[in-house]
């Protein structure tokens, strides 16, 4: 049975799932709509009933007031610029007479949430040209095309008949989750905004974020009747009547659009850490516990948690919400949380405002600091830990070193383990064969772990978006140059025509023959008409030039207005997909025997794996990683700035797991990081890895020559000698010459060679 309808913010952009052809077709019938909302559509002509559910009012999120006609209408940006329209964000809530008051609050909060969830601040006025179709993923630019080839399409509503389904959804959809799940495929392929450069975020994530932010605001906002009878909206003790008043300006520098907003919120980034060291295999149950607790928090606080990975949570919170209470389950189990929290006006709050603020403080960037400070922007770093005592009587817990340990003896080994850590041990043996069969065999093992560095991701997204915009700007500048050349060409033609006319006029003056004068007069008129035509063309071109200049300025501004949060969510989703795909593809490549030799020891935790070391298996793991990375992140950076990395740690099975983990947790990672205990430590970029595999591993290069080079390098410590040796042998070993000339050290390719070819260490 259907429950009473609710306001579902996720539906607000459902119109973006309609194929443009439908709109064109209806336009021909005189009953189309502008943009992606259906405020102005003529339902009678369509023969469809207008939805009556609360969610219908979400369609008004771009409503404007037409100052001439004194009516409410869908927003027209040109008219907005010319002040013919007034945006709803500037209009007193009490004057919103197009909507019942109880739904007015829904719409008010929806518009705020929509602004916060957009990938480029709505402060940037105009729109760039529409992209052909589909989302432009910064890390996978061919994504839409490849999905299209698989038969997937972004448009969920492709015919006029489909519009019935669309309005059925607005009328009957029961929840945001239901909508996101039903249209997942289409939403993931549709950009939040089809115009460049805003076409980088998926509509799925945008709708999901709007839903979350809306509900957090809704939990904290209420309608208040003032003594004079006017209605205000109160949030965190601050009353406002316009959206503009609530969010303030959208800029953090300059002189315009920098007003202080009355409503603030927090974006809180939490890195989940632990002091524990894995003494026994069961201690890695801690990772399982972490996964469980993160999932539990993400599900209980599903609106506040924007996204979560196994070791990172980002939350959107009102100023007074207790963070420690939310994270209590993690703290109770001995995890501690490194927190970076930004408190700011809704108009400027975004996931990199913390970095911008700290950078401004470091560089003493006064113009920006003046704005940030006047708007009460705060950036905090905190550590949240469970309560600790001042002192602990010996013995301290061997694992967490945060509580008193209880003596426990197993197999003549005495340990001191606290109750909590013992409870984690007692969660079971994650992978029994490791400590029994494998250990008895005395094999070498390779632990491997994927990581996603959120800080590197923020850096890369900012740069990648900047490059994307720069590329568009370059194209625009070329267009501008062409237009300027065309203007100059026309001016020159015009000048010639004017000179010609001048000469003709002079000639006419000298003529006495009336007939000739008439003919010449006609000629002069024709030239004058041509000049007028050219002037008109020049005028049009000048307009185009000015529009282009404005577009370029707006594109430049968009880099500063970029909000990477939605992209971070999209990227994290793809990362999780990539991990699942890795295990699937790897499994397809493995023989039955190999399948017994590899494990993902924590179920549902796809970042961690272990296998009995063999050159074949390690090659399969690395190559599968390369495959899935190319599939999901072909355009993502893949060197020491890579947000995603894979680390492999190889050692005898007796080597403690905590030491493998310590290696995984080290900073300064590259795309691939390999540590072979007591043999070598090496880091590779993706390009290095690919070329070494291609030139050295697959081409069966001479290992003796590789050894010779490494020995020379160790003995002489002279790059010149190495270069001479490689140069002298360039005909015999051209692939080595090529690697060296690309700046790859011999030790790098020899170590990888030994690892993948299994040469005795």
């Amino acid at each position: 049975m259907m429950s009473s309808p609710k306001f579902i913010p996720e539906l607000h952009d459902i119109g973006k799932l309609v194929d443009e052809k439908v709109k064109d077709e209806l336009r021909n019938r005189g009953s189309s709509w502008r943009g992606h909302v259906f405020v102005d559509i003529d339902f009678q002509k369509l023969g469809i009933s207008q939805p009556t559910s609360p969610s219908w009012w979400a369609q008004y999120h771009h409503i404007c007031y037409d100052n001439n006609n004194k009516t409410w209408t869908d927003c027209d940006r040109d008219k907005l610029k010319k002040k013919l329209h007034t945006s709803i964000v500037e209009i007193d809530f009490n004057c919103w007479d197009f909507i019942p008051q109880n739904f007015g609050l829904n719409l008010f909060l929806l518009i705020l949430a929509d602004h916060l969830a957009s990938s480029v601040s709505r402060a940037v006025g105009g729109r760039g040209p529409s992209a052909p179709e589909g989302i432009w993923k910064l890390w996978n630019q061919n994504y839409h095309n490849s999905q299209k080839k698989k038969g997937k399409i972004w448009a969920a509503f492709k015919t006029i008949n489909d519009l019935k389904n669309l309005f059925y959804e607005i009328e009957n959809c029961q929840s945001g989750e239901e909508f996101l799940s039903k249209y997942r495929e289409n939403l993931l392929l549709t950009p939040e905004d089809k115009s460049v450069p805003r076409n980088v975020t998926s509509l799925y994530t945008h709708a999901e974020l709007v839903g979350k932010i809306y509900r957090v605001l809704e939990k904290n906002a209420k309608l208040i009747t003032e003594p004079n009878g006017a209605i205000a909206i109160e949030y965190n003790g601050e009353k406002v009547k316009t959206i503009k008043e609530a969010e303030g300006g959208r800029r953090t520098t300059g002189n315009t659009d920098i007003d202080k907003g009355k409503w603030q919120a927090r974006l809180v980034k939490c890195w989940i850490k632990f002091p524990h060291s894995f003494v026994r295999l069961q201690d890695i149950n801690l990772l399982r516990k972490r996964e469980e607790l993160v999932n539990c928090i993400a599900s209980y606080y599903k609106d506040e948690v924007i996204f979560a990975t196994s070791d990172f949570i980002i939350l959107f919170l009102s100023p007074n919400q207790d963070l420690k209470e939310i994270l209590k389950p993690l703290l109770d189990w001995g995890f501690y949380i490194e927190v970076e929290e930004t408190l700011a006006d809704l108009g400027i709050l975004n996931s990199i405002l913390d970095r911008k603020t700290l950078r401004a403080r470091k560089l003493n960037d006064q113009p920006r600091l003046n704005v940030l400070n006047s708007r009460g922007t705060k950036v905090y770093r905190k550590y949240l830990m469970s309560e600790t005592s001042d002192e602990i009587q010996p013995h301290i817990c061997d694992i967490c070193q945060q509580r008193r340990g209880v003596e426990r003896i197993k197999e003549t080994i005495r340990e001191w383990i606290c109750e909590k850590c013992q409870e984690i041990r007692d969660m079971g043996e994650p992978f029994r064969e490791y400590a029994t069969v494998w250990e008895e065999e005395g094999v070498k093992v390779c632990w491997f772990k994927f990581s996603l560095d959120q800080k590197k991701l923020e850096d890369w997204l900012q740069n990648a978006f900047g490059e994307y915009v720069d590329e568009i700007i370059r194209k625009k500048k070329n267009e501008l140059k062409n237009i300027e050349e065309e203007i100059n060409r026309r001016i020159s033609i015009k000048t010639n025509k004017e000179n010609e006319r001048k000469e003709l006029i002079e000639e006419v003056r000298k003529l006495s023959d009336k007939e000739k004068k008439k003919t010449m007069g006609q000629k002069i008129k024709k030239i004058s008409d041509e000049i007028k035509g050219i002037e008109s063309d020049i005028g049009k071109l000048e307009n185009e030039k000015n529009n282009l200049r404005n577009e370029i300025n707006e594109l430049e501004l968009s880099k500063d207005k970029f909000r990477p949060l939605a992209l971070q969510v999209d990227f994290n989703k793809d990362y999780k997909e990539m991990l699942k795909e890795f295990w699937k593809k790897l499994s397809e490549k493995l023989s039955d025997e190999e399948k017994n030799n590899i494990e993902s020891p924590i179920k549902e935790y796809y970042e961690l794996g272990v296998f009995k070391y063999s050159p074949q298996l390690i090659q399969k793991v690395i190559e599968t990683f390369l495959d899935v990375f190319e599939e999901y992140f072909p355009d993502c950076i893949s060197d020491n700035s890579s947000p995603i990395n894979l680390s492999l740690s190889i050692a005898n099975i007796k080597y403690p797991i905590r030491e493998h983990w310590r290696f995984f947790e080290e900073n300064s990672k590259n795309f691939l990081n390999v540590r072979y205990h007591k043999v070598f430590d090496e880091k590779y970029t993706k390009n290095e890895l690919k070329i070494i595999i291609e030139k050295v591993i697959n081409l069966e290069t001479s290992s003796s020559f590789l050894h010779k080079l490494v020995q020379l390098e160790e003995r002489l410590q002279s790059e010149i000698h190495i270069a001479v040796e490689i140069f002298n042998n360039r005909k015999k070993y051209p692939e080595i010459y090529e690697l060296f000339s690309r700046g790859i050290k011999p030790s790098k390719f020899l170590n990888l060679y030994k690892l993948l070819k299994g040469e005795e260490q």
């Binding site: 060291s277 950036v379 602990i392 009587q393 010996p394 061997d398 403690p656």
Partner: protein, 217 residues
């Protein structure tokens, strides 16, 4: 500007093991910091003084890299009662990077507490850390300077007893806590005391900071 006067000791150390507290295994890791407990223990043992101290391994002046690298040492403890050797234990240790080098370290003592020791400390040789009987931890103080360090907000890079932090001008803003062992005055027993660990957000002398920060407090 808020500054604090400290005594800065420059140490040259051979191979050294500053063990972590893990038990129950045959493989022992090694820390890359010099906690208060370690350096205070050494000063107490060799100079008979009870002074607060903190330290860290310094970076190479030229290439800004570590002056140490990791290696492993395997030994067997003899059970004197049973007259048998126990299971061999492998420990990680730090050894100087490069040939004939030394690990460089810096140790700080609050000026008032250390100034009377200054002459005694210059050129002094002693041992720190574990497995001293195997020759680990030989240290020499090659320089003692009186310095003034500006108090700034930043990320702490040392392990210091919470109760002694104030003596170094360290004021916690948000702490990462751990525990360090504080022996009793007879060095027979002792207790674990709460300590500020690296990563803590503090106001502290700049020389004890990994990086200066600009967070709101």
């Amino acid at each position: 500007m808020n500054r604090i006067k400290l005594l800065e000791l420059h140490l040259e150390i051979g191979s050294v093991i500053i063990g972590e507290r893990f038990k129950g295994g045959t493989f022992r890791p090694c820390q890359t910091t010099i906690p208060s407990s370690t350096i205070e223990g050494a000063l107490r043992h060799y100079f008979g003084v009870e002074v607060p101290a903190v330290g860290y391994f310094a970076k190479d002046e030229k290439n800004k890299g570590n002056t140490y690298e990791f290696d492993e040492f395997t030994y067997s403890v003899r059970d004197k009662f049973l007259n048998v050797s126990r299971m061999p234990i492998t420990t990680v240790y730090l050894r100087p990077r490069g040939k004939n080098g030394k690990i460089e370290a810096k140790v700080y003592i609050p000026y008032d507490k250390g100034v009377s020791l200054k002459d005694e400390l210059i050129g002094a040789e002693f041992q720190i850390g574990a497995l001293k009987s195997k020759g680990f931890g030989k240290s020499k103080i090659i320089g003692v300077n009186e310095i003034e360090s500006e108090i700034k907000q930043g990320i702490l890079k040392v392990k210091v007893f919470e109760g002694e932090a104030g003596e170094f001008g360290i004021e916690p803003i948000s702490s990462v806590y751990g525990y360090l062992f504080k022996p009793d005055k007879f060095s027979i027993g002792g207790i674990y005391k709460r300590a500020l660990f690296p990563g803590s957000l503090v106001k502290a002398p700049e020389v004890l900071l990994k990086e200066v920060t600009y967070y709101d407090e």
